[in-house]
């Protein structure tokens, strides 16, 4: 992350200098600060909402029932998770939210899953294998129906907006398989 950030900033300043866009560059920094606040405020709302809901799930014991159907799949994928750990449920809920394209629920539930995984982490600042696997699957964004995209296509007059559903699903599954495979290979050869 440090390298990428340094590269992005360094390259940007260099280009701003060469392209004579220093003014635009500076302006964009303040715009970025503003939108970071806006996105954070938005996140504050939905994260608090979903943490409230998941707290009810925990207090009522629903947490042990919800994960039931998917426990087999999730514990197979995340082998080091104790089967009754809250992380199993939060990971399941996050995957389901992603699958149905509920972005506003997926991110807060993903944060909850990360916190649950962190409670199993013995070194506070170093990432665990389970966290990496979880993030990689999330960035592959497996989704049944991409509603936002279809909505835009339909609005702008596509004759068959749903034509992209199958290719999107294929592409997303293939790239998820690749991503998990790549992660696994890295683990194998970087020990």
């Amino acid at each position: 992350m440090n390298t990428i950030w340094l590269l992005l900033i360094g390259i940007s300043i260099l280009f701003a200098l060469v392209n004579n866009r220093l003014d635009e560059f500076t302006k964009s920094l303040f715009e970025a600060a503003k939108s970071a606040v806006e996105v954070s405020l938005f996140l504050l709302g939905i994260v608090a909402l979903w943490l409230g809901i998941t707290k009810i799930i925990e207090d009522s014991g629903l947490i042990h029932r919800l994960s039931g159907a998917f426990k087999f799949f999730v514990t197979r994928l995340f082998k080091n998770l104790p089967p009754d750990h809250p992380a199993v449920t939060s990971i399941t809920l996050n995957f389901l939210a992603n699958l149905f394209g509920l972005g506003n629920a997926a991110t807060p539930l993903g944060i909850k899953a990360m916190q649950d995984l962190q409670s199993l982490n013995r070194e506070a600042e170093t990432i665990t294998w389970e966290m990496m696997l979880f993030i990689v699957i999330n960035t592959a964004s497996i989704q049944l129906v991409p509603f936002t995209v279809i909505g835009i296509l339909a609005q702008l007059g596509s004759s068959n907006p749903a034509a992209v559903v199958l290719p999107t699903f294929l592409a997303t599954v293939l790239s998820a398989v690749f991503a998990v495979g790549a992660l696994w290979l890295f683990r194998k050869f970087l020990k």
Binding site: M1, S35, I53, F100, L102, Q115, V136, L156, T168, A171
Partner: protein
């Protein structure tokens, strides 16, 4: 299509009903539980904020400085060689960086090339199959304060690149 959309609209209300109903049946003080859980949201977002700011500054600066346009031109040759519409580059570069910007770029592609063009379809599949990787990394890692990410970032970047190649190929083959 309509039914699928209806089901997906139904999921969250049904889910909340299930949660609150189950809590009530188990005699949980649901209101107090909800408030106690929601309170944690504040500390989570405060933890995430600096990471989010860092990502936004880097991404916006990259766009404003003209570095984005330059990297787009770099790929022009490759796309021409494979006979892929040039518009696809913009969406391929912007999608992993910024969600809101990518919706803008996508709408623009659909408007200029037509909703049923090859460019629109490729862009649509990239939109649906790629994720705003750097945002996810910032938010998820920031929320738990992870600093040592081992080989996660290279894997994510590699997966993004391959994912976009896969998206383009799938559209090529199917349409």
């Amino acid at each position: 299509m309509k039914t699928v959309q209806f089901i997906s609209q139904l999921i969250i209300p049904l889910f909340i009903l299930l949660v609150v109903g189950y809590g009530w049946a188990k005699k949980v003080r649901v209101y107090d539980s909800f408030v106690a859980g929601a309170k944690d949201g504040i500390s989570v977002v405060i933890k995430i904020f600096p990471y989010l700011l860092a990502i936004f500054v880097a991404v916006k600066g990259f766009q404003a400085s003209g570095a984005f346009d330059f990297s787009r031109d770099l790929f022009r040759g490759i796309l021409l060689y494979f006979n892929i519409p040039l518009e696809v580059i913009s969406i391929a570069i912007i999608k992993p960086l910024s969600g809101s910007a990518s919706i803008g770029v996508f709408t623009d592609i659909v408007k200029t090339t037509g909703p049923d063009s090859l460019a629109s379809r490729m862009a649509a599949v990239i939109m649906g199959s790629a994720e705003t990787t750097f945002y996810i990394l910032a938010v998820y890692l920031g929320a738990v304060g992870i600093k040592k990410t081992r080989y996660l970032v290279p894997v994510c970047v590699l997966a993004d690149i391959v994912g976009i190649v896969i998206a383009i190929s799938v559209v090529r083959i199917l349409f």
